[in-house]
């Protein structure tokens, strides 16, 4: 099953390589990883999608917390959240097919960025499945070049984990689950 983690890290040199090195060393696979700035200058935010069973997911969280520069890990898998992937797609389009491609783009609310004599380049933002589906429909026209950013994610609702960061730093307090009760 795919797990999505939002990881808040101190904005310091080398932090990305620490996170990536951890996944490599522990033999966890990364499906996608994005990193970017946040509303706070000194905090960066990563969204990591990885294939893991619940036990592995718990271990991944516990291991990420062992990195000293990590402030907070939020496993948003199965939570109400917004997940967005951005794709730039260059698709083949001749005189005959151009309007079909443009129609598809309109249906998907993709932005047309460039039209050339034999291609159209569009930008699509959306959930991963929407992007997958769009690419599938475009593929008969010939996908000349595709780039996707990977997922960025945010929980729904007003609360930002960063606001609560001071209070909640480090692993959350142990949940009282019936089987295993530990602090991740």
């Amino acid at each position: 099953m795919f797990h999505t983690f939002v990881v808040y890290v101190e904005n310091k040199p080398g932090v990305l390589s620490r996170v990536v090195s951890l996944f490599r060393r522990r033999a966890f696979n990364i499906d996608s990883l994005t990193v970017g700035r946040t509303e706070k200058d000194d905090v960066s935010r990563m969204t990591i999608v990885t294939e893991a069973d619940p036990d592995q997911a718990r271990r991944i969280v516990a291991n990420i917390y062992k990195l000293v520069n990590v402030l907070l890990v939020d496993d948003i898998t199965g939570q109400p959240a917004l997940l967005r992937d951005l794709a730039l797609i260059k698709v083949g389009a001749t005189q005959e097919t151009r309007s079909q491609v443009l129609d598809l783009a309109a249906v998907f609310k993709a932005r047309v960025l460039d039209i050339a004599s034999e291609s159209i380049t569009v930008e699509l933002t959306g959930g991963e499945e929407k992007v997958d589906r769009f690419l599938e429909l475009l593929s008969p026209y010939g996908l000349l070049e595709v780039v996707r950013t990977g997922i960025v994610a945010m929980r729904r609702g007003a609360k930002s984990p960063l606001v609560a960061l001071k209070a909640e730093l480090g692993p959350a307090p142990a949940e009282e689950s019936d089987s295993v009760s530990h602090s991740v």
């Binding site: 101190e10 390589s17 530990h182 602090s183």
Partner: protein, 575 residues
């Protein structure tokens, strides 16, 4: 220096910070990129011990740390100096040992240019340090040193490395010790379990008929020796020790069964396999401890007390985890745990033990052979009641030491468990002796491993350290030979050793030496060594093709042990 700030070079700030943090000794080796720091040593009261190879420096720092619990410090230059530290860093990482490594680095302007002796040591050590720093400005030195020391020893301890560029050492800045206090937003080593978890643990313990405590290295790290013993006594729970747990509960305690695992005693492993509750206290279910996981303690519920949440459910499926410092957790549990007697279970364990034909090896006739087990058992008898520290290397002798030397004091055994680093013993013993100069220190080392770091005899001589070296000389890379004997049809490929004359070698360093070939000479020679003021090396020329029993073969269940065929090497029991 008072409070407030003074202008100092990065190099001087380095020593000043270490000194104020309580560091008294460092182990190191100079070179170009660390020279500014060495030059600044003249202003510091810190003692510098010159090693003969940087691997020795990191093992010495490790031995220092394991003997005391305080951070051991190693210093090296850039490039080859730094990479030579790596084995010692990985060793400390595996066994949660707090060390700080300081390396020089080329000037910050040259970083990334493949400059002379430039190695990306923070990159190299990323997976084998708890954390590391690349310091490029004098201003960063003090915060890095203070953070690094705090990181190394807090929470689950481990190695931390600071790589300091030459210009950061030479540069000058305002130094304010107080202002450099650690401020780490993301680092929270102080976990504690939920209330409900304590209640649940107590209920599970009360319900258990056949509980066993699995006592690990975390006991010493936490300083929970007394609490574990009190807990075991109150609830009447027998204790099994990991290799790194040995000594933290006295071997002579009635509830202490001895070592578990691959070369643990059969009754200990059987007790674990038959248990209905395992209480893991600061141990991480290493594969040498569990044997085949599928058949590991199948009837037992498992409670894991550990400071590192990443250890929970890693190897063994846990029923209840209490995450936090062992001592703190036991202090909560102790007043609430129900006193019990568990007579039946204790009796059953005694029966298991009886069935392994325990015998005092001391009473066996001298048949002209010198067995390592005898050497080690005699060494134990001679040093008993003293505060002796035994530092072992890796191999057969290490396992015989664990079996036949009965450790009664915490931190009296120092050994590389997780990485199994040959060459560890001699330098680690130097670190231990420097840390605890009043303690008697013995090195128990194989003829193979000794040759990996024997250059450190020069360090012993130069520092005039009273370290006693017992080489268990079997003419083989014995542990590997044993595996070849069991699993590779006795094809002794690359395991026989042609050794130098160790006694003469010692003399060349000015170290007194003896050769022992007969059992009757063991005790007198150990006595002579103890009586001698300076360092001593004893070359114990033992039976060459002797085997460590019992043994759980890789992949076998914990109770399926290969048992001792030969009565000469039956388990030691006290008179």
């Amino acid at each position: 220096m008072g409070s407030g700030s003074t202008a100092l070079t990065g190099a001087r700030i380095l020593w000043e910070c270490l000194e104020r943090e309580g560091v008294k000794t460092v182990f190191g080796y100079p070179g170009g990129a660390i020279l500014p720091a060495y030059d600044a040593l003249q202003h510091s009261s810190i003692r510098h011990i010159l090693v003969r190879h940087e691997q020795g420096a990191s093992h010495m720092a490790d031995g220092y740390a394991r003997a005391t619990g305080s951070v051991g410090v190693a210093v090296a230059t850039s490039g080859p100096g730094a990479t030579n530290l790596v084995t010692g860093i990985a060793t400390a990482m595996m066994d949660s040992s707090p060390i700080l490594c300081i390396t020089g680095q080329v000037g910050s302007k040259l970083l990334g240019s493949d400059a002379f002796q430039e190695t990306d040591i923070t990159g190299v050590t990323l997976p084998i340090t708890k954390h590391n720093y690349l310091v490029t400005r004098a201003e960063e030195v003090a915060p890095a040193v203070r953070e690094a020391l705090y990181l190394a020893k807090s929470g689950r301890p481990g190695p931390v490395l600071i790589d300091i560029t030459k210009d950061a050492q030479q540069g000058t800045c305002a130094f304010d010790f107080e202002a450099a206090a650690p401020k780490m937003r993301g680092y929270r080593p102080d976990l504690s379990p939920a209330k409900a978890a304590y209640d649940k643990a107590l209920a599970m313990i009360a319900a258990a008929k056949k509980p066993v405590i699995l006592a690990g290295h975390g006991i010493a790290i936490s300083g929970a020796e007394r609490e574990v013993q009190a807990f075991a006594e109150r609830a009447c729970i027998p204790i099994a020790m990991t290799l790194l747990g040995l000594g933290h509960i006295s071997a002579s305690h009635v509830l202490n069964m001895g070592m578990m695992g691959m070369h643990g005693e059969a009754w200990v492993n059987k007790a674990i396999q038959e248990a209905d509750l395992l209480l893991a206290f600061g141990m991480r279910f290493d594969d040498r401890v569990t044997g085949n996981l599928k058949s590991y303690a199948p009837n037992a519920k498992k409670i894991h007390i550990d400071i590192d949440p990443a250890e929970v459910n890693k190897n063994v499926k846990i029923d209840l985890a209490l995450m936090g410092d062992l001592r703190n957790i036991l202090l909560e549990l102790l007043p609430r745990v129900e006193p019990a007697s568990r007579g039946e279970w204790i009796e059953q364990i005694h029966k298991l033990k009886g069935d392994t034909a325990v015998r005092d090896i001391q009473n066996l006739p001298d048949n002209g052979h010198l067995y390592a087990a005898h050497v080690i058992n005699d060494l134990w008898r001679e040093t008993r009641g003293s505060d002796a520290i035994v530092v072992t290397d890796v191999g057969q002798h290490q396992m015989w030491e664990a079996q036949y030397y009965k450790h009664d004091h915490p931190r009296s055994l120092i050994t590389s468990g997780g990485l199994g680093t040959m060459g560890f013993a001699l330098p680690a013993a130097i670190g231990a002796k420097v840390a605890r100069p009043d303690a008697e220190v013995w090195v128990v080392v194989g003829d193979g491993g000794f040759q990996m770091t024997m250059a450190e005899m020069a360090t012993i001589a130069q520092e005039n350290l009273k370290v006693n070296i017992a080489i268990i000389n079997n003419g083989y890379l014995g542990m590997v030979r044993q595996w070849q004997e069991f699993f590779y049809e006795r094809n002794y490929e690359a395991t026989p050793l042609l050794n130098p004359n160790f006694a003469m070698l010692a003399q060349a360093y000015g170290i007194k030496s003896h050769v022992v070939k007969h059992r009757s000479d063991v005790v007198p020679t150990v006595r002579a060594a103890r009586a001698h003021e300076g360092p001593v090396l004893i070359d114990f020329q033992v039976e060459q093709e002797d085997t460590v029993y019992p043994m759980v073969a890789a992949g076998a269940a914990l109770h399926e042990m290969i048992r001792r065929p030969n009565p000469i090497v039956e388990t030691a029991e006290d008179e």
